[in-house]
Subunit: 354 residues, 2 copies
Amino acid sequence: MTSGATTTQEVRALEWTNNRLRLLDQTLLPTRVEYHELERWPQVVTAITSMQVRGAPALGVAGAYAVVLAAQELQLLPLPEFREKLTHAATTISAARPTAVNLGWAVSCTMGAWDAATDTSQAIALFLAEAQKIEREDIEANHAIGEHGSALIPAGATVMTHCNAGALATAGYGTALGVIRTAWAQGKLKGVIATETRPLLQGARLTTWELTQAGIPTTLIVDSAAASVMRNGKVSAIVVGADRIAANGDVANKIGTYSLAVLAKAHNIPFYVAAPMSTVDLDTQTGDQIVVEERAAAEVSSPQGVKAAPDEVGIFNPAFDVTPAEYVSAIITENGAFTAPYSDSLQVGAKSRG
Amino acid sequence: MTSGATTTQEVRALEWTNNRLRLLDQTLLPTRVEYHELERWPQVVTAITSMQVRGAPALGVAGAYAVVLAAQELQLLPLPEFREKLTHAATTISAARPTAVNLGWAVSCTMGAWDAATDTSQAIALFLAEAQKIEREDIEANHAIGEHGSALIPAGATVMTHCNAGALATAGYGTALGVIRTAWAQGKLKGVIATETRPLLQGARLTTWELTQAGIPTTLIVDSAAASVMRNGKVSAIVVGADRIAANGDVANKIGTYSLAVLAKAHNIPFYVAAPMSTVDLDTQTGDQIVVEERAAAEVSSPQGVKAAPDEVGIFNPAFDVTPAEYVSAIITENGAFTAPYSDSLQVGAKSRG
């Protein structure tokens, strides 16, 4: 597992190289594969808000490296000013998107490395080591998630997934797609049904791109076709990622996840959430406390940048929804697959964190 | 009600004028309002397959006028040849789209006017009278549907609808939107939530356009947000149209309808289907016998004409789904709102047909 970071063949959403953050611009996929080299921390914030990088674990890694970039920029300042401006940068980076817990968590972990530093250059070295540790551990976690999740997938299965919880959403390998990759490698998987995931089409643009590159047979459907595909008996299991999991097992994830969870229950299909323990937020008691980001109206009114709705219409564009724990068959983490009651099992899972 | 055809203020999807079928090209809405004047029946077939005209009742009216156009084109032929070629045209028109029952029904009604004719010009006059009767009766039916449906809507309601079952989908006024228009006129309606309806965005492009033109407050959401909007208590009722209703009450309608029906049941929200009796097909016993059209992959892989998915991915693009009768709270027709058991109530409804 420790070799995961270097041997993985999957696309990398981001990479630390030459003291810069090299980032794949996911808004251009699948038609263009283009990387940006970010030197300044506000560029990372822009990349996050514009969704050039997205996916809770990838946001965490990006946030951690943004702290390193900020520290590099500020390193010639006197220590008190360095500390003050860096804290401001960290706060801004954490707030770039509100729903995913990993962003704030990773920024806070990285800033925590501060305590052992006596000067700014030492702080930078410690921040970088911490960011690289977060990145490496995320890839390792995803491989473990793949193993634990694949054990739940029956032979000959067709798995449905929503949005993109793949290599592109993480440091590598993926969470939900980690489960799918492992099940495929173990010869258990017949194929994948990917929902396109309006408004930003991460399913169509990212998931089908990742899976077809991996040679996994993938069928794309519009989001609203999921129910009839389930009814026709074509789905063995649903596996999705998560942006934040509350202590009681409620799951915030891409808009449409809750819809699939309710439909899965109605069709007796198991509904699994795959995420690293860093996505579990024990400080959030229930899903009611999770802030759901609302994004720009144009994402809905102008699909693919082409105007489709009259100006007079109101738009409601929540980026996420919250799936109550009762709809979740298991939460698959690097420490194992946990089942209800989650208020107990997630506490146990958190304690076994490495 | 008899003045419905002339007094309605709503947009007209089609109109017979100067011995031609004048047709609003709905693929261009809402950004362009453009009419085509069709002189030849194959142009109507193309308009139907390319969805310039769509919606089960509107397809019926278009099909009826296509028979008139065909008869006009063929009128100089000797009677046996006229009859043979016209029958061929009628078969082709009926087959332009397979799922909506109204198309075949209206073509068959129009061809039925034949029996009283002794020459081709008399046949044309009879076909035209029949087509105009179908058109007029559809508008009248929709006003009656509006009355019967509005009686089911509570004061202060927010109604969710899917796709477009409005003036644009019918000869005028609309079925589901007929219910909404009447409820609004009666001061009962707070507003409408319209689902965008991928892949062709009839909700975003057509329904929000119709409703905002009528001054009805409308909020547009992506299809997959419907579940969380329901959970948040924002939906009083769901009203949709239908393309074919089987004798047992199973309903074929735009893909995503079944999804909304299952979600409505899970959230204790009434789910209504509004359609004229011409959409009820007593010859189809259950939904299992309904042919569901699959449409081009590009509708999914290139939303708004912009490529979004890699070439390697498979696409499954059913245009419709079938909602089992058990999910339908009532079927609202011009002859009243019928409830389960539909195998009884729809028979009664059909017998009271005018």
